[in-house]
């Protein structure tokens, strides 16, 4: 854990990603503090104003302050992203674990069914589902989750296949542990880090996905200050009031980028092969030097000189 933190922190791109996410979290939790206006407050006389001292990002077609809507919009985006990933990971893990251990014919069949879901183009399926369920914030999240879970099932299944060959699983079997217990105690915890990396990467993707659905009118409904919905409204005004589309778009872009950078650097940090031979960089944060001693003992078996 500590070593991972160290590695992420050492890579500049990872730091950028981390910073973006921190800013995002600040927006989410400190929205009332950071916003300058009420995101719902309509002010027709002030509509379509370009960015100015009073409205940092300008106003939209009904005079609402775009900056504040972006700040509050972060809540919806993040919430949607998290819920989608959580549901997807949960369902996917259950399916993957069931299929992966003890494996065999049943497991393969389960994965074939999963593959059927994967065969559909994700966006189209999500649109179809969302429109069927009816456009709403909640329904669009359900739709995306249904599209998402097969990916995690596949991932967990793959992990389970290799983990179950390890001796400690055999040992559990020998002790008479039930399949359920082996999945929970032995397989899942070891698949967890791979899952987390994927989930982090996907968080940005999920936010994008949700924004797309909102853009199409299927997600968050007006007057919710959702970024995707904001871009949707901005379509008609793009040529004259560019700020209406730009800032929500920029927000989505930055957030997705942030999660991708963070996820990538997490993946690199957790990759056992890359872990060993990374370049020695001068210590940026000297307080980290204290667990050098803690970890150096553990590190000796990493066969540095192999």
């Amino acid at each position: 854990m500590k070593r991972t933190t160290r590695l992420v922190v050492d890579s500049p791109l990872g730091v950028i990603g981390l910073v973006i996410i921190i800013i995002l979290l600040l927006c989410v939790f400190l929205s009332p503090v950071l916003a300058t206006h009420d995101p719902y407050e309509i002010d027709i006389p002030n509509k379509l104003e370009p960015p100015s001292r009073s409205n940092w990002f300008g106003t939209d077609s009904v005079g609402r302050d775009i900056y504040s809507r972006i700040i509050y919009g972060s809540r919806y985006s993040l919430l949607a992203g998290i819920i989608v990933v959580v549901i997807g990971v949960t369902i996917g893990s259950i399916v993957g674990l069931l299929a992966g251990y003890p494996g065999g014919r049943g497991g393969e069949w389960l994965m074939r069914i999963t593959d059927i879901f994967l065969a559909f183009p994700t966006l189209i399926l999500a649109i179809a589902l969302a429109s069927t369920l009816g456009p709403s914030f909640f329904n669009s999240m359900v739709a995306i989750s249904i599209v998402y879970w097969p990916k995690y099932a596949r991932l967990v299944y793959g992990q389970a296949l290799s983990i179950k060959e390890r001796d400690f699983v055999l040992y559990g079997k020998l002790l008479g542990e039930s399949s359920f217990k082996i999945r929970i105690r032995h397989i899942y915890p070891n698949a967890f880090s791979a899952l987390m990396v994927q989930a982090t990467l996907d968080l940005g993707d999920a936010i994008l996905f949700f924004a797309a659905l909102s853009f199409l009118g299927l997600g968050a409904q007006p007057p919710t200050p959702d970024w995707g919905a904001m871009i949707s409204f901005a379509q008609d005004y793009m040529t004259v009031s560019w700020w209406m589309a730009l800032f929500p778009g920029l927000a989505i872009f930055l957030v997705v980028l942030g999660f991708n950078l963070l996820g990538d650097s997490l993946r690199d940090a957790l990759d056992p092969r890359l872990r060993r031979l990374k370049e020695f960089k001068p210590m940026r944060f000297t307080w980290l030097g204290n667990f050098r001693k803690l970890v150096s003992y553990a590190n000796k078996e990493n066969d540095i000189d192999k």
Binding site: L7, L277, K278, E279, S296, N299, K300, I304, D305
Partner: protein
């Protein structure tokens, strides 16, 4: 080290570090030894002592994180460390060749055996055309005593057993008639009966090809069987070096003694095995002085943990690095 002049390889005061995110690992610390032409030299030690890294540094096959601090590696009086990568390309496989530990990954799974042999010949321009290359390759296959060489020529590596793959790896290594063969634990993954055959084979080939063999292994018994001279390494330092007979007969360094006392034998009476207490130290902040001092039963405080021991000559071909002498 010895006074003969036909030393094909001389490693002098080699110091090598690895950069890691936790710090600088001092992997090789003042290692010196020399290999005479047409002899077997054994480099022994347990895991993590740096013997494989030494081998890789001779062929400059180290990863980017490796930094050679100081020292020389002389091959026939040319300093390898000063050679450019371009020069090394010609060097590897032709002057000095290597056989690795894992036969499964030594060969490309996507190429037929014959093609891999021919490839080596073509790269080093040792054959005049395809037909000649094929002949030479087949010849080599029979010299490494593979059965049905013509059949094997067309097969893929996955169709062969571990022992056979290792023979192929040896064949590829010897195709260009190198003067030095580095064998890095090349029998460790094989069954003991196959290991026996492979060692016997290489003993024969060594004489036939007039080459020297640098044999890296943790198995002291194997060194005893095959090598004339040897060195024992621990945590990047040489502990003892000299003629195999001399060292086995009267081991001097406490580490050597400890190692020998830990090897179970199948002949003679069963004697109690002695382990060596303690753990191999991390090479990131290694112990100062003799790195074995943390575990040595004869450690002299103030000396062993301060100063790296100098080499001391004890016999005509027996040198030890230890403050007790």
């Amino acid at each position: 080290m010895t006074s003969t002049n036909n030393q094909i390889l001389q490693v002098k005061d080699l110091k090598l570090n690895f950069k890691s995110y936790l710090g600088l690992a001092e992997v090789i610390n003042n290692v010196s030894f020399s290999v005479e032409a047409n002899t077997w030299f054994g480099l022994a030690g347990e895991s993590g002592c740096g013997k494989s890294v030494t081998a890789f540094s001779i062929l400059k096959l180290l990863p980017d994180s490796a930094v050679i601090e100081s020292g020389q590696i002389l091959y026939k009086d040319q300093d390898i460390l000063k050679k450019s990568e371009r020069q090394m390309l010609r060097f590897r496989g032709q002057e000095i060749s290597m056989v690795f530990q894992d036969p499964q990954t030594s060969l490309s799974p996507a190429m037929r055996i014959g093609d891999q042999l021919i490839e080596t010949l073509e790269v080093h321009r040792k054959a005049r055309g395809k037909a000649d290359a094929r002949d030479k390759a087949l010849d080599m296959l029979s010299r490494v005593k593979i059965n049905s060489p013509r059949l094997r020529f067309r097969q893929y590596p996955h169709e062969l057993s571990g022992g056979m793959k290792q023979r192929i790896a040896i064949a590829i290594a010897l195709l260009c008639q190198p003067n030095l063969l580095i064998a890095d634990e090349f029998t460790t993954n094989l069954d003991v009966t196959i290991q026996d055959e492979i060692i016997k084979l290489v003993v024969e080939l060594q004489k036939e090809f007039n080459m020297a063999v640098l044999f890296i292994t943790h198995d002291l018994a194997l060194i005893h069987e095959s090598c004339s001279r040897m060195a024992i390494m621990y945590a990047g330092q040489i502990m003892e070096i000299g003629a195999v007979e001399a060292i086995f007969k009267s081991p001097l360094n406490p580490y050597t003694k400890g190692l020998l006392a830990a090897v179970p034998v199948i002949t003679g009476k069963v004697e109690k095995l002695q382990g060596i207490g303690g753990f191999v130290p991390s090479l990131i902040n290694p112990p100062s002085g003799c790195r074995f001092n943390t575990r040595c039963p004869h450690m002299i405080k103030g000396v062993c943990d301060r100063k790296v021991p100098d080499v001391v000559k004890i016999g005509p071909d027996h040198y030890v690095y230890c403050h007790l002498f």
